[in-house]
């Protein structure tokens, strides 16, 4: 009946009024600065909590030095959010990613702008940026990202456990062969075959297989060609799998599951459950906080004896990447901010707060954290000739996730290592060739 129809229409009309009324009460839009002549830039990053607070101070320092630029910082922006904003047409002016792996893919897809022209007239000395770190932001000959602080991995070891096993606490392993031998001496089991102390576990806290591959003289990729089936690479994976097999796959899993929380005084490294472990630079601060009495040392991860000289000072590192999104409205001011991050003022301010490795060649002399000899070692490693990371490539994410899953299976003893590596090699090379066109 028409009456009913009209009434239904009336309902929709009422609804629309509701909606329009509600439209008026939305929160303030983030708009341009009210001050004339002041440019506002949006800087998005991924940090949270106190790390986010530290970055705010960097932004404040920048604004003090650049009174005509207002910086609006947004925290907790993950990669999906940043991509959606870029693709959707409302990108931030600067974005900071937690890693270097996405850069090649984002560059290839046209999501970020190259910064070579800006670098040519940079106000900072580009040579002061740690070369290995800077190289991670390059793709197809163009620079797309600046590094801002790094994480790096090395070998921590418990000197007291060494002493207890009649080993010289000042002679940590420098070769894989020594690592194997020492680990055997530092491993203890109880009567029922359960582990009570592990000399070393390749998969604690997670399997650091890139580090192991490079330590064996192997490669993951070289100049766009995957090297997963090369003998040294296979040897590294096999070594990790064999290590678990020797300790007992189930025994290891049970042992690991009894570890206390990583960020607490009950962590395995602090309670003598593992004698040697691969961990990052942040562990120095963790030990200070959770287990200050721990008698420990930290050295670069050992390498195979025959490569001892070539691979001296090996470390696996990653950097935060500072990028210029496509479509950023204020690229000049954005670049001013990016440059600022590459100065000791910003770098030291942030790293001293959140305990990351500064990525400037001058950091060892300007950064307060360098006064700690262990931390200085990390700075030197990142600036050294053997600071290794995934070679920039547009399938880095897929590569890392596929290899991680594969290594998890290899450590469990449930996959054919050589065969699966060959399959992965073929699959990833095909992905790469398609993506890098």
């Amino acid at each position: 009946m028409r009456n009913g129809f009209r009434q239904a229409l009336a309902m929709v009309a009422v609804l629309s009024v509701f909606v329009l009324a509600g439209c008026g009460s939305s929160a303030n839009q983030a708009g341009p600065a009210k001050d004339a002549g002041k440019v506002t830039i949006d800087v998005w990053h991924f940090w949270e909590g106190h790390e986010s607070e530290a970055f705010k101070k960097v932004a404040e320092a920048f604004m003090k030095a650049n009174p005509n630029i207002e910086v609006k910082v947004l925290d907790g922006a993950d990669e999906a959010k940043i991509l959606t904003a870029i693709s959707g047409g409302t990108p931030p002016d600067v974005a900071i990613l937690p890693e270097a792996e996405p850069i090649a893919q984002w560059a290839q897809s046209g999501a970020i702008e190259p910064i070579d022209s800006y670098l040519q007239s940079a106000s900072f000395d580009v040579k002061t940026v740690a070369p290995a770190a800077l190289a991670l932001g390059k793709w197809k000959g163009k620079q797309y990202a600046l590094p801002f602080m790094a994480d790096a991995w090395a070998l921590y070891y418990n000197k007291d456990l060494f002493k207890a096993a009649n080993l010289d606490p000042e002679k940590p392993p420098t070769t894989i062969e020594e690592l194997n031998a020492l680990a055997a001496k530092l491993t203890k089991k109880d009567g029922s075959g359960n582990l009570t102390q592990a000399g070393f576990i390749p998969s604690y806290t997670e399997n650091h297989f890139p580090l192991y591959i490079w330590a064996f003289g192997g490669e993951i990729m070289k100049d766009g060609k995957f090297q997963l089936t090369s003998p040294n690479t296979v040897a590294a994976i096999q070594w990790s799998a064999d290590f678990h097999k020797k300790l007992g796959v189930d025994a290891v899993t049970r042992f690991k599951s009894g570890f206390g929380k990583y960020d607490s005084p009950e962590a395995a490294l602090y309670t003598g459950k593992v004698a040697m472990a691969v961990d990052g630079e942040w562990q120095i601060r963790f030990i200070d906080e959770f287990s200050p009495k721990l008698n420990y040392g930290v050295v670069p991860f050992p390498v195979v004896a025959r490569e001892k000289d070539r691979l001296k000072g090996l470390t696996w590192f990653n950097v935060n990447s500072v990028i210029l999104p496509k479509g950023a409205k204020h690229s000049k001011e954005a670049w001013a901010f990016m440059q600022f991050l590459e100065t000791p003022a910003a770098m030291d301010l942030m790293t001293e707060s959140i305990f990351n490795i500064p990525t400037l060649t001058t950091s060892a002399s300007t950064n307060k954290l360098a006064q700690n000899p262990n931390f200085k070692m990390f700075i030197d490693l990142v600036n050294g000739p053997n600071a290794r990371a995934y070679e920039p490539n547009p399938v880095a994410g897929e590569l890392a996730d596929n290899l991680t899953a594969f290594v998890e299976g290899a450590d469990q003893g449930t996959v054919d290592i050589t065969k699966t590596l060959a399959e992965l090699q073929a699959k990833l090379q095909a992905s790469y060739d398609k993506a890098a066109k």
């Binding site: 009946m1 009456n3 009913g4 009434q7 239904a8 309902m11 609804l15 509701f18 909606v19 509600g22 439209c23 939305s26 929160a27 303030n28 839009q29 983030a30 949006d42 998005w44 940090w47 949270e48 909590g49 106190h50 790390e51 986010s52 609006k72 910082v73 947004l74 925290d75 907790g76 993950d78 999906a80 959010k81 959606t84 904003a85 693709s87 959707g88 047409g89 409302t90 931030p92 009894g258 206390g260 929380k261 990583y262 960020d263 607490s264 005084p265 009950e266 990052g280 942040w282 963790f286 959770f290 959140i354």
Partner: protein, 275 residues
């Protein structure tokens, strides 16, 4: 005599066991929220904190702009609930109480909109909201709910279909319009269902995470579920304070739920055919 006592005793026992299963992790959350971080995950686990850390709760509300974020979350939750109830009930009525050509095909389309993963719709939706000028506001989060939500339409349709035909037919004979039947007969009889929809929606909006993450670009607009991330860092978190924040996040809803029970579950006296 014994048989009569057995049923309530078994039921109470069953309820207690189930209650424990469901409450245990929440009690653990409260217990953790009153510990220090060092105690929080100690081995072996224990329930009573050595020293009760009420300060965790203070830290929870002062570390993040708690009040602001609660208001934001409340605004979005209320708006979506208000919008969705009416805008979903009307279509549900159309699908349940009237027979018309093409009805079932259209209903299938309604259901189908729930079958495509959000991840592939995220960016085109963002583009729509950008063109409407709604990005970085609350609008993408609540305005769509004023246009019916498939979940609620489906649920209410099922409920509406349990109300006897005779009631509608009698009313039609009495000269009541369809809208009148909807408003004066079907809706009053569906109070439990409608309240269920309202409560479920409020709770879903309260805990929404992905949509606020994608569509909000100003920390001042952040909701509580986004704010909770502030207690986490790269390799660690303030676990105890995070749990305290989690408890505070949950408590208002628990109270709301408790209160709503009286409305929609108990004491509904129905007259007429539905006894």
């Amino acid at each position: 005599m014994k048989a009569k006592l057995l049923k309530p005793t078994l039921t109470s026992l069953g309820l207690a066991v189930a209650g424990l299963f469901f409450l245990l992790p929440f009690l653990w959350m409260i217990s953790t929220s009153l510990k220090t971080d060092a105690e929080a995950f100690s081995i072996p686990a224990h329930w009573i904190p050595r020293v009760i850390q009420w300060s965790n709760y203070k830290k929870a509300v002062t570390t993040i702009p708690f009040f602001q974020q609660t208001l934001n979350t409340l605004y979005i939750s209320v708006m979506t609930t208000v919008g969705t109830v009416i805008s979903s009930a009307l279509p549900a009525y159309g699908f349940a109480r009237i027979k018309w050509p093409g009805r079932d095909a259209l209903f299938t389309l309604v259901l189908a909109t729930m079958m495509l993963p959000f991840a592939v719709q995220m960016i085109p939706m963002y583009v729509i909201f950008r063109q409407l000028g709604w990005v970085n506001s609350f609008k993408p989060l609540w305005v769509p709910s004023f246009f019916g939500a498939a979940f609620n339409i489906f649920l209410l349709r099922q409920f509406f279909m349990t109300i006897p035909k005779e009631l509608s037919e009698a009313a039609r004979i009495d000269g009541l319009s369809e809208l009148g039947i909807f408003a004066r007969i079907i809706m009053p009889l569906s109070r439990p269902a409608v309240t269920t929809v309202a409560v479920l929606n409020f709770l879903w909006a309260w805990t929404m995470f992905l949509e606020p993450l994608i569509f909000l670009n100003d920390p001042k607009l952040y909701t509580l579920s986004l704010g909770l991330r502030a207690f986490q860092s790269a390799h660690t978190a303030q676990w105890a304070v995070l749990m305290a924040a989690g408890v505070i996040f949950t408590v208002p809803i628990v109270l709301l739920f408790f209160a709503a029970q009286r409305v929609f579950i108990e004491g509904i006296t129905l007259t007429g055919i539905k006894g």
